[in-house]
Amino acid sequence: MDVEGEDAAKVIHVKFVTKLDSPFEAPVRPVVIPSNVTRLGLSTIVNSLLTLENTEPFDFLIDGELIRMSLGEFLLAKGISAERTLEIEYIRAVTPRKEENPSLHDDWVSAVDGSSPRFILTGCCDGLGRLWSSSGSCTHVLEGHSGAISSVAFVNSNGAETVTVATASKDRTLRLFKVDTAESVDSTTRVRAYKILRGHKASVQSVVAQKSGDMVCSSSWDSTISLWHTNDSASEGESFAVKKRKGNNQAEEFQSEGEAETTFVGHTQCVSSVVWPEHDVIYSASWDHSVRRWDVPTGKDSLNLFCGKALNTLDVGGEGSALVAAGGSDPILRVWDPRKPGTSAPVFQFSSHSSWISACKWHKSSWFHLLSASYDGKIMLWDLRTAWPLSIIDTHKDKVLSADWWKGESVVSGGADSNLRISSGISIC
């Protein structure tokens, strides 16, 4: 058999290593494999070596780069000698293994927050915010907005009894809700805001809470960024308006109104997204094609990255929690490293999407992984170590408007098909 003989001639001595625990511990002895095996081939080899009960897809790294072609081509492209014994690290493939049942909304799901492992918070274009338990049932409905909700955020999700959430809406207000988690899970409870934050002159596009939960930051179409206090005590709220809400069957409620603590002015167009990764630092992305970093105490922008495109979304994370990922009015997800001096060119560009990018989120624990959602209906999982998406989730039938990581191993996303979808089982080591 000549052909086999030729194939056999191009063999590579490899040794598989891993950081995974049992039962994925690596076999010790090196193996000889043909050079034309791809990721699938490697995965089957490892699976057969490990003798797993359920086959497990793996991803393979050589010198910190993911293999996305045949082994021989990869070595050729990277200029790695095939003579010596190659060390291939395998990790569990980052791909959702399970698709949960979608949770249907009444309108487009425009915002989702998965920062709390217990709940998923969604905002809907019908003006209602919803809190979903991990079991997939809607426990609370946050009502009060007269316009579509554009952004939601957990302000304090760690409280034992109550969880504080903030919602931003097109009706130019933000609302803060306190949700009692101790209530029964069976029925849906409707919650009213305890505090209404007024001050923006146009739609509020994004809201984000400080880590401590004392303040929230919002950005608006009127190109301003405002900081608000979250506490409902009347001590500092000078406009301590007590309003009598039109009577449902519930008892009368007190709603306080708050005004902006600080307003950052600098952007010239709609500020579409803000993040508050550290105590004193706020990042913002705007339609004026810039990403800015604000110093909270002084209110000055200390960094101004020019992108050239209108930006819709922004997240900060990755290595040292310093990389800025942003997407906007083109299909390219860009990642900047602000620590890199003298340049404002993005360090990574991912361009597999085919339409506007509506959301991007870094994984909380990994330095390499981030997701992006796009109007083309796809959510892509990215690893900085490769230029191709690790995995594409295309369960949405329409535009994906928002997406987030949940519990470190799931992706929650809301879209124009009015569904909240959860893709779970993503193993990120």
Binding site: W108, W287, K309, S329, D330, S355, W356, Y375, L401, A416
Partner: protein
Amino acid sequence: MKKRETANKDQMRETKSKSKNVSVSVKSQKQKAVVKEVKPVEKEVKSLKEEDLLLDSGTDSDYDGDSLSGSLNSDDFDSDIFDSEDDGSQRETEDGDRESSKDEVHGIEGSDDNDDEGEQVDSENGEEDGSGDEGSEQDEVAEESDSSEDEVAPRNTVGDVPLEWYKDEKHIGYDITGKKITKKEKQDKLDSFLATMDDSKNWRKIYDEYNDEEVELTKEESKLIRRMLKGEAPHADFDPYTPYVDWFKWDDAIHPLSSAPEPKRRFIPSKWEAKKVVKYVRAIRKGLIKFDKPEEEPNVYLLWGDDSTSDQKSKHLTYIPPPKLKLPGHEESYNPSLEYIPTEEEKASYELMYEEDRPNFIPTSLSVMVNVFVHRFASLRSIPAYPNALKESFNRCLDLYLCPRVRKKRINIDPESLKPKLPSRKDLRPYPNSCYLEYKGHTGAVTSISTECSGQWIASGSTDGSVRLWEVETGRCLKIWQFDEAVKCVAWNPLSDFPILAVAMGRDLVILNTELGTDEEQKNIKDLLQLGDLPEPKAAVAAIVSWLPDELYGGIKIRHFKNISNIDWHRKGDYLSTVMASGETRGVVIHQISKKVTTKPYKIRGLPVSAVFHPSRSYLFIATKKNVRVYNLLTVDEPVKKLETGMREISSMAIHPGGDNLIVGSKEGKMCWFDMDLSSKPYKTLKNHPKDITNVAYHRSYPLFASSSEDSTAYVFHGKVFNDLNENPLIVPLEILRGHSSSNGGGVLDCKFHPRQPWLFTAGADSIIKLYCH
């Protein structure tokens, strides 16, 4: 002088005497014939003689003018000159005769003299009469010619005294014996005149004062005189140009002929030579002088060569080489190779073809043998006559004389190089180029879109009667207003704090509250849209519009008398212009929303198509079918300016935010850019669309403009306007935006730029609105 004359006369006399002898032997008949010929010549000689004498008298101090005057007849002199000139030809013939028969002439003259002259001569002749033969005479003549004239003694005996001494006397002097010599009786003028008339020889007579006698000049003498008058040597035999014979022997000379020192010029180079040399050198350099003889052209030439390239013929401007005959090939052969003979199938297919389409590869011998199969002839001898010879030579003649007389110059230029140098598209970024967002929801063709001033919302109107409000960012339809009629036009108020929408459908213009602003803004809008007490409209206006409340959505409805085709807000957001295409002279009205007043319409010439407010000043641009007129809003009805588009039918118009430039789209797919500072003619006309242009638009801040067309495309252009007045706008076509599908003959019905981003919204007849991003 005097001596010479006398000598001449002596000589003359002798010749006469000799000639007389000769004349005896000549026949009389011949004499007479010759005499007639000679006569005029003699006259001339006489005149010459007289002239000569005149000259002499002038120069010679010895002569007294008066003494001569008597003998001269000035009148005759003049007339004779003319006569002589007339007879020039005769003289020549006479000369010829003379040379041939010299003797005869002498004889004739002699006989003439004989008749006329006085006794003295006769006597002399008589004395010599008996003396010898012709030969001796010849010798004597030769002798006399040699003899010096000076030796002849004067015949008069008065002595060498001045004649004036006896001027008034009757005698002329005294002879040896002391007796007076009486003067010859002088003829008076009348006698001399009569003598002249009678005697044709009289003109030759000269009065010799000194000897007191009349002398008649011989023919020889007259010739002599004539030659002298011409400045020639007196004797005909004398050659003044005889080659010089250098008798001196230079070889033996020891000493130079001149003792003068060698002149300097012999040592220094000659300037003239130098100049000449320079002249030659220059001529050589210029190529005027060529040393090498041009090589002679070989006498052979290429029989079938291309003579169009030959230098000789191409020198002429108009030379057109005749079309070439085809070179003889195998098909001409009477005995072609076997492979050139067509097969049966080829022949059949050849026959089926039209004559023009027939290829040439098949041997002509096929066609030679009209509809007969090809033959190979064993020998040249067996070839029959060529049947097409006459036809082909006729065709050749046709080719030659029907050939175009105009030389067409084909220029080999790379067409790419003729394109104007435009900046690269990459440098003109950003501009919309790809569609990422679609706004779906309408069920009919979207006729009009309008962007809110902040760029967060767009409104669209459709033929399904609905007006929709969309969020730009997400593509979410926020609001729907449903009407009964197809919406023609929608327009956002340009003020950010008055988010109201003007919607035109049918004859109605509806002002809608979008309910987007803050509470305070909403309150203002509600106040604005309240129709309180309407001011009493003028009669002219009332016939056109009426203000009504809109029950359906709580706005204002302005009902017009004709269908509305176009609306435009003034930049201050209070005034609104509406155009009624069929309204003719009342086709454009302006509404003031705050006062609920409609102003008097302009008088429009032609059918109005579109009306646009100037972005910064109080002007209104009204486009009729062919022209655009600019009206001042504050003053008179007459247009301030008229822009001539040169287009068949204007469909749309947009004004640059700077206010000095205007684009006009037409139904034939042309778009004109007007620079109003430049001229009233289009600065540039762009012909891109194969079908009607439906709308044109400028971007508010980016140097972009766009046109949408019924061919389902939208074009994006870079249109930079410079602040420097010296620089003309730069127009670069950037992108063709495709994506809309055609439905019901409509393509893209409207295009609008995002007010802040370099994005373009296009509304299609396929009921989709697309957003093209950069």
